[in-house]
Symmetry: C2
Subunit: 207 residues, 2 copies
C-alpha cells in the first residue's frame, strides 16, 4: 500500500474497485438484480459513498459498458494498425477475440448477459457499440479481394452475420465450463471461415 496517495488517485482506485466488484457480482446475477448495498459491501465502502462516483446504478451500467469495450477496441485496432493482408484480417481478429475472451472474462460475461438483458440504457449502449463494430467491419470487408464487387448493403449483411457470430460465441464461451471451452473456440474459427469463404466455396474440413 502506498504511503501517501493523492486525492484523485484515491478516487480513481475506489472507482476501479466499484467496477471490479460489480463485474464480480454480475457473474452470479444480472445487472437489474444488482443490489447497491451488496455492491458497496463487496467494495468495502458504505452505501452512500457509491454516489460520490456514480449518480445512479444505471450510470454504473454505462461505465461498465465502456470499460468492457475499451480493451477490446484497443486490441482490434492494433490488428488493423499493423495492416495484415486482407484475407488474414478475419483470422487475426478471431484470434485476438479469443485471446481477449480468456483473460477478460468478466467483461465479456457482462456484455453477453446484458446485451438483451433488462435495463434499457445498458442494452442500448451495448447495441451502439456493436453497431460501431459492424460499421468498421464493413470497411474492412470491402478491402477483401473476394468481396470487392459487393455492394455496401450486402457487405453490411455479412458484417451483421459476423458480429452475431462473435457475440453468440463469446456468450457461449463465457457460459461454458472451462474444460469445454476449447471446442467452442475451434467451432468459432470454423464458422468464421465458413462465413467469409462462403458456403459455396466451402470445402469440407480435413479429417
Amino acid at each position: 500500500m502506498a504511503a501517501t496517495e493523492s486525492r484523485q488517485e484515491r478516487k480513481d482506485r475506489t472507482r476501479r474497485s466499484i467496477l471490479d466488484a460489480a463485474l464480480d457480482l454480475l457473474a452470479h446475477t444480472s445487472f437489474s438484480a444488482l443490489s447497491l448495498r451488496q455492491l458497496t459491501r463487496e467494495v468495502g465502502i458504505v452505501p452512500t459513498a457509491f454516489y460520490r462516483h456514480f449518480a445512479s446504478l444505471d450510470e454504473l451500467g454505462l461505465a461498465l459498458v465502456d470499460d468492457s469495450f475499451a480493451s477490446l477496441r484497443d486490441v482490434l485496432n492494433a490488428v488493423r494498425r499493423d495492416n495484415p493482408p486482407p484475407e488474414e484480417l478475419i483470422d487475426r481478429s478471431v484470434d485476438v477475440l479469443v485471446e481477449s475472451l480468456a483473460d477478460d472474462l468478466p467483461h465479456f460475461r457482462f456484455i453477453a448477459r446484458e446485451r438483451y438483458g433488462g435495463v434499457a440504457p445498458v442494452c442500448e449502449a451495448i447495441g451502439r457499440e456493436l453497431d460501431l463494430f459492424e460499421r468498421e467491419l464493413v470497411t474492412d470487408l470491402a478491402r477483401m479481394p473476394e468481396l470487392a464487387a459487393w455492394g455496401a448493403r450486402d457487405l453490411a449483411l455479412l458484417a451483421g452475420l459476423f458480429v452475431n457470430l462473435m457475440v453468440s460465441a463469446a456468450a457461449e464461451f463465457v457460459a461454458a465450463e472451462p474444460e469445454s471451452r476449447g471446442p467452442l473456440i475451434t467451432r468459432l474459427r470454423h464458422q468464421a471461415r465458413m462465413l467469409v469463404v462462403g458456403a459455396a466455396g466451402w470445402s469440407p474440413l480435413p479429417r
Copy 2:
C-alpha cells in the same frame, strides 16, 4: 365467468394467469430480478398461493421456457409435415418464425432476455431447447441438394450459424421499436438466404 368450475380447471386457470403475469412483468425486468410478491399481486392471489403451483421461482422459469418453446415447435413441425421442397424449407421456416415473433412477443422476449441472462437452470433449459433445434436443422439441411455432399460436422456448423442468426434476430426484433421491425425482418430474410446460398454463390440483391 363460468357459473361453476371444476377444481382442476380452476388450478389450470390460475397457473396460466401466473405464467401470463410473469411474461408481462418480465417485459420490464429480468427473471433474476422478478419478485414473488409483485408477481402474485399482478395475478391477484396472495404470495403463499404461488407455492401451490410451483415449488420455487426457478421452477416457474423452467415452465416459462417450456411454454415459450411449445408453440414455436408446433409451427415449425407443421412446416416440416407438409413436406416442402428442401430448397424452400428455410424460407418457409423463416416465415413462420417471423409470424410467431409478431404474435408471441412476450415468449420471445423472455427467451432473448434469459438466454444468457443470469439464472443458471433457465439458461441451461433454453440452451437445451436450442440444441434440439440445431440437431433437427442438421437433418433438414442434409436433404438440401446443394449440401448433399457435406459432412455431418460441416452441416452442424452451418446449422449453428443458422440458429445463432434466428436467436439474434428475434432478440433484436423484440427489443426494437414497433415501427422499425419491418426492416429487421427483411434483413433477417436476406441474411438467411446469404447463409444458405453461400457467400461465393451469393449474387447482389436486386435494386
